[in-house]
Symmetry: C2
Subunit: 347 residues, 2 copies
């Protein structure tokens, strides 16, 4: 049985959208799947239309953590929040996975307080799929760690490789380091040191990947610190709307363009689908001791649906066990020696 | 008289394109403007069709610095390179501005060895125009400094504000800090410390700007370290080609879409023009003691033309004097105290 706890209160569009998306996913999964909708019971009963649904259980959580609350404080002060209650289900073994479209920092904090890290992991990282010319790639960290050390980047690479293997089906994922030049010696201090570690790691490291290479699909896993990753991800998400807006304003300026726009509609829809984060199935927080996925705050029904399906697949594919295996394979020596070194060098 | 030294050997498309673009700019400028084309005399004479052109002088430089040469070493070892010779013209006062589409690192290194920094500037930064929904904004640093300290970011802000005033015509430019959250306390150590400095600076600081806000035009000047800035800039430059490629492959899949694409052509052209870095007039290296502009390695005739025009305007508008004034206005105290503090805190 796979039980997925869904934080139904976190999304910007309300619990109805989250409930609806979860049900849509459930209908595609086997009878052994359970959805635990966590949140205000009254709201959730209403969202389900007052009826009970096979495979769905409501778990009451009286509090909500807002998008702008300070994460660690909010998690400590609100043990009754939907994020904290859902995380408790995961920690207690009453759920196998957790999905939240809520405050990302609060999800990370609750995961660290609760289930904690997989043995050997220093810092969990948020991974996301990113579209490229060929197929999607995995990018991480996209926001859990604003400041990183080289050894963290090495671990991100290993965890990202596991996720790429499971999610993209590449047996030997090509790992690239997001950097500002092709040569090994390029970049900031962090990138130069991380580059050296990745070279020794036994991972299939293909070197530096520049901003312009991201979409070209030169790597299956792109490693970066959570500051750069978050800036790039949010920028990329905004780019589609921006170009779409510019085109739309043009289209309305002449009948010729209006007709052209009408005819082009299927192509625009295809482009949107290709680039839309809603299709990407949630971003796993890799390195915590349980399957934890973060969905976009503005997640639609479709986005929640695909994120629930993503959670289910990661449980089925034993993400946690595989991350542990991968880290053991890289070897404690490389990780621990470099933890020492970097603690002094970059602390 | 305004004399612009143009490194004609640096561009990927060869000296002919650089020469042609320079002539096109010259034809739009007054009779008092001179172009000094720096590079291999034989190639340049050939590029000019063997004739002498009024207002254009060829300055022979026997060597070239390649795109992948280590900047500082190359500049030292090749005093006869087009970049070094052009920089010498600037340093000696025989040119008022320098434009190079060559190795960016080499231009920065040559500028530091030669004309050096404006009094009070710790680190020069490369500024670029970036399209937004409203009008363009200035983003810096986009690649001169991979590792920055908070005080550098403060100076970038001041220099960027001067450039925005001259180039975008905003009297009191809104300065934003590229960051990963809206709240003051968000970000990595560098961003948090830079935020605090910017708050005290007397600049019109509007707070943090997230990746998703860049294109929304929430600031006229966006400050970031050269690593993040370079990644975002190169990513943005690649995005247009990527979406264009996806659309094109769609268009060829059906007659309906082909017709739509044909009708939409003017709208696509408008979009391309709006987002194309070729229109942006070169990226000034702010903080060095002379007008130095860097053009894209793949600069077309049009890109060189607009970059030469950009150089001319910055000389006319007394960029160097104005940066000095702006830094004095922010005050030595804030800058120097924080230089001390950050030297210990982030070294």
């Amino acid at each position: 049985m796979v039980r997925i706890a869904v934080d139904a209160m976190g999304g910007d569009l309300g619990p109805g959208v989250v409930a609806h998306g979860s049900l849509r996913a459930l209908s595609q999964l086997d009878d052994e799947t359970r959805i635990l909708l966590v949140g205000n019971e009254t709201h959730l009963r209403a969202a389900l239309g007052g009826r009970s649904v096979a495979g769905v259980e409501i778990v009451h959580a009286p509090e909500v953590i807002g998008m702008h609350e300070a994460p660690a404080t909010a998690v400590r002060r609100k043990p009754g929040s939907s994020i904290a209650v859902a995380m408790q289900l995961l920690e207690d073994g009453r759920a196998d996975a957790l999905l939240s479209p809520g405050n990302t920092g609060a999800v990370v904090a609750a995961a660290l307080f609760g289930p904690g890290r997989i043995h050997g992991v220093h810092r969990p990282a948020i991974a996301t799929l990113f579209p490229t010319e060929e197929r999607d790639c995995v990018m991480l960290d996209v926001g859990a760690n604003a400041d990183c050390k080289p050894v963290h980047m090495l671990q991100f690479a290993a965890m990202g490789a596991v996720f790429a293997r499971l999610r993209l089906g590449c047996e030997r994922p090509r790992v690239g380091l997001l950097n500002i030049g092709e040569e090994d010696s390029k970049g900031n201090e962090l990138a130069v040191a991380a580059h050296a570690l990745l070279r020794q790691s036994g991972l299939h490291f293909v070197g530096n990947v520049e901003g312009r290479d991201l979409l070209a699909g030169r790597a299956d896993v792109v490693v970066c610190d959570g500051f750069v990753g978050n800036v790039v991800l949010k920028f990329a998400e905004s780019m589609l709307g921006f170009t779409g807006g510019l085109l739309k304003s043009q289209i309305h300026s002449s009948p010729r363009l209006m007709l052209g726009g009408l005819l082009m509609r299927p192509a625009f829809a295809h482009l949107k689908k290709r680039l839309d984060y809603q299709e990407f199935g949630g971003a796993p927080l890799l390195g915590v001791n349980g399957v934890v996925c973060i969905a976009h705050g503005r997640s639609s029904v479709r986005a929640i649906e695909s994120a629930v399906l993503g959670c289910h697949a990661l449980v089925r594919d034993q993400l946690i066990v595989r991350i542990g295996d991968e880290l053991r394979e890289i070897g404690g020596d490389l990780l621990e020696n470099n933890e020492q070194r970097t603690d002094h060098g970059n602390g």
